[in-house]
Symmetry: C2
Subunit: 507 residues, 2 copies
């Protein structure tokens, strides 16, 4: 077989080293966001910039270019589809890397690290202007990056679209508009129905930190968490990351007065981590090969949202966990299982994306999708971002942020120069809903399985149907492969309408 | 000035990058020993090996060799002594690096990581044989390393001496024998005097973990700890490390039934960290230059032992802290300040080095010094190490370890291939004692200053007299510079005899 020929082997060794370098960055990132003292930020920025430069060199060097060409030359009629796909994805990535000026790569890494540090401080002090110069610099660098990358693209793409490619291969603004339009059209009416029914807002419940920590641990234990392979820590913004093929990390935070925040964030990040842990790792799918990577960020997000929303915010799950919360707290402020379920699903528009319920979540993304285009492509001055944010917030959700901490400073993404990423969160809801319909057609109702504590069967189904696909497909193709139909907003809207009906009926 | 000429500048930039790489390893090491899941060990070993290979390449490449030669050629009559010394130290290090086979460097890094992982497990299960193969490999690799390094040495050195050079520049076995001989000769009689006086052993005090954590925090706060520059975590073995010029880490562990273990370890590691934080950082002493590094590991240890033993185990400190311990615990199991002081100074030989008091500590080192020579130079089979350890333990301290966990598996050093390091711990006691005599001659009795809470004055004196010397001197030279006399065991023995007298008088 040509696949085990010597160029293939050498390429594999090269990629292995590349992945080692990349995972060192992940370890430093984890450290930075969990334990690094604030004064370490500048040096950390230099460390990450050095690694980014090295990574870029490895991924664009003449030696690597020759190696890839040699591996491509080895392809023959007997070569596997997986091998072809791996090489094609590497070729695309190489063309992208070779367009980039190494100076820009280092500048970006430094600006990201600086942005992160300034954002942490600006957020703490609710001081957007102190963060604005860093954001302005990041936007300029990203625009420059998009313009350099555009030369590698086979079709014409806008700057925003170019930057979104690594997260959602083949995505376009038009396709997103098509998917998001029904959400904007139908969700506001649903929100109004819920508001009109005026259910009593659940009391704020003060759940002590140690109890929240304990419940998060119980949840993870019941969902297959293995401390020998995963570490859980605290950070300002919850995230999940992979530091090695057998080394996974998730972080959460406890938010005062929000009894379910850490719990749902744990379910969410664990969903991401399960996906990473289930990606193909053998043969052509070996860790460092593209096929061993996530299909797209939308698919990644569908896995976290499945566990957070479909499972942990479901009625059956609420019925099983309410007694544990009550026992841990020593009282029942929710007034029974239904009130507890209601607490998990406030269905009440709020200011914070990561605290949003399923009903309004995707509208938070619609807002960010528009503002990213405004910042990157339509010349919105950075200092006008807070006002633009607040105006949109009123239009979409009828809410005015009282300060920027609960407005445009709430997310870490832009602080690290991450543009083009937010839509993946909304796609995650759509993909999760569509894949769940297929799962239910094959396994029976998810609610019934959760009621009998059979989450392992849900996990097993995903481990067979979704996780092994890796980058053998795009997000759109994955959905079509699993569900038999192109991705649309319909399953998600059906699911939402049914959930709203059930919550209102039983209120 | 030739010093700011272009070769000098380029050399400085090169060293800066080298230090970035080295500090990435430090960050990974910290992560590995505090939060990394066990299954991550193999990949982490590969990451560290990759960095070690890169570091070795940077420190031995032709480009760097040319750069150093160019900087040396720039030296002229107007060049500073500091510049000359920096270049001389770099030259010595370069000659050492160039002797080493890059394959060996990578093998060692991997073996160290594997050794660490197997040791953690072997120690947990008290299973020395499962760790023996890793240790055997490390010894073989270190012997090979010593033989490669020997070609760079200007004088003939034994393998052990060659490996000890990075920790104690210019040290010899003969000099150590000379310094250690009086300890072996006079300490056993002191131990016997204490045993003869048969003071009641203090009751074991169960101090809950959270209280110990709280007291450690109080201690650090009172000694200038700044969470913006330092992070404190847990690890199996306490250590201190520097991740960047403004990023310091210390770790401790709480040992059940030992109320002072975490407290004294915190004092100890904080002493190391203060020294690192006080090393020269500007001009010729800039972070990446040799003069910005610690004088020797013995001097490093003298700084940790000063705060642990001279200060925290002192009578005045005990008198001030006993009420805080009593208040935190809600009772006084020590029966007053004297009993508390007695508890901090059991003066009772024990099995564990890091829990040993000042009286027997150096004998633990004498044991390791002898066994390292036996393993590296006298052919002691690794599987016979436990028996040899236990035999020596009886000879020196009259104790037999009940298991290897409390015997030859207790320390992390050999598990990471660290040979030639242990004597620095004993040198630290000697240096601390001799430097303290000078400090007292200038500032008055340490006990008086501690009694009035003026530890900041002790810190200020060290910050002026000791920390800025960096590698401008050897350990021996530093002591002579500060105290006016060559290092000897006399000040330490005088201090011990006086302390024993005082403890027995007041018993």
């Amino acid at each position: 077989m040509a696949e085990v020929g010597s160029a293939h082997q050498r390429l594999r060794d090269h990629l292995h080293q590349t992945r080692l370098l990349g995972s060192i960055s992940s370890a430093l990132y984890y450290d930075q966001n969990t334990v690094m003292p604030a004064a370490g930020a500048a040096w950390r920025g230099e460390q990450l910039a050095l690694l980014a430069t090295q990574l870029h060199q490895r991924q664009s060097s003449d030696a690597y270019t020759d190696l890839l060409a040699a591996a491509e030359a080895e392809l023959g009629p007997e070569s596997s589809e997986a091998n072809r796909r791996n090489l094609a994805l590497l070729r695309l990535e190489l063309e992208r890397q070779r367009c980039l000026d190494p100076t820009l790569v280092a500048q970006l890494a430094k600006a990201q690290s600086r942005g992160n540090a300034l954002w942490q401080e600006a957020r703490r002090r609710n001081d957007f202007p102190s963060f604005a110069p860093a954001l302005t610099e990041l936007i300029a660098l990203r625009r420059e990056q998009a313009s350099q990358l555009a030369t590698a693209e086979s079709i014409a793409r806008s700057p925003w679209e170019t930057l979104a490619q690594p997260f959602e291969p083949e995505i376009s603004k038009a396709r997103l508009q098509e998917l998001f339009q029904p959400l904007q059209a139908r969700i506001p009416a649903l929100i109004e129905r819920v508001n009109g029914a005026a259910p009593t807002p659940p009391e704020a419940v003060a759940l002590p930190e140690s109890i929240q920590e304990g419940l998060c641990s119980q949840l993870l234990d019941s969902w297959g968490y293995d401390p020998a392979r995963c570490q859980r820590s605290r950070s300002a913004h919850p995230f999940s990351c992979t530091v090695g093929p057998d080394d996974f990390r998730i972080t959460t935070r406890v938010v005062e007065g929000q009894p379910f925040s850490a719990f749902l964030a744990t379910a969410h990040e664990w969903g991401h981590s399960l996906y990473e842990q289930g990606l193909p790792r053998h043969g052509d799918h070996y860790f460092p090969w593209p096929l061993g990577e996530a299909t797209s960020m939308g698919v990644h997000e569908s896995q976290s949202l499945f566990w957070e929303c479909r499972v942990a915010r479901g009625q059956a799950f609420a019925a099983r966990w309410q007694p544990r919360f009550v026992q841990a707290l020593g009282s029942d402020p929710w007034g029974g299982a239904h009130g507890f379920w209601r607490g998990l699903n406030p269905l009440r528009p709020g200011l914070i994306r990561v605290e949003a319920d399923e009903l309004s979540y995707t509208l938070h993304i619609v807002l960010r999708f528009a503002l990213e285009q405004a910042l990157l492509e339509e010349g919105l001055p950075v200092l006008e971002l807070p006002a633009a944010w607040n105006r949109r917030m009123v239009e979409l959700l009828g809410l005015t942020p009282p300060n920027d901490r609960e407005g445009c400073l709430q997310d870490i993404h832009w602080a690290e120069g991450l543009f083009g990423y937010f839509p993946s969160y909304a796609l995650g809801h759509l993909i999760s809903a569509q894949v769940s319909e297929t799962m239910e057609a094959q396994l029976g109702p998810i609610e019934s399985l959760v009621a009998s504590g059979e989450e392992a069967r849900l996990r097993g189904w995903l481990a067979e149907q979704v996780w092994p696909l890796g980058r053998s497909v795009t997000g759109d193709q994955l959905v079509e492969r699993v569900s038999g139909a192109p991705l649309s907003a319909e399953p998600f809207l059906r699911y939402l309408e049914e959930k709203v009906n059930r919550l209102l009926d039983e209120a």
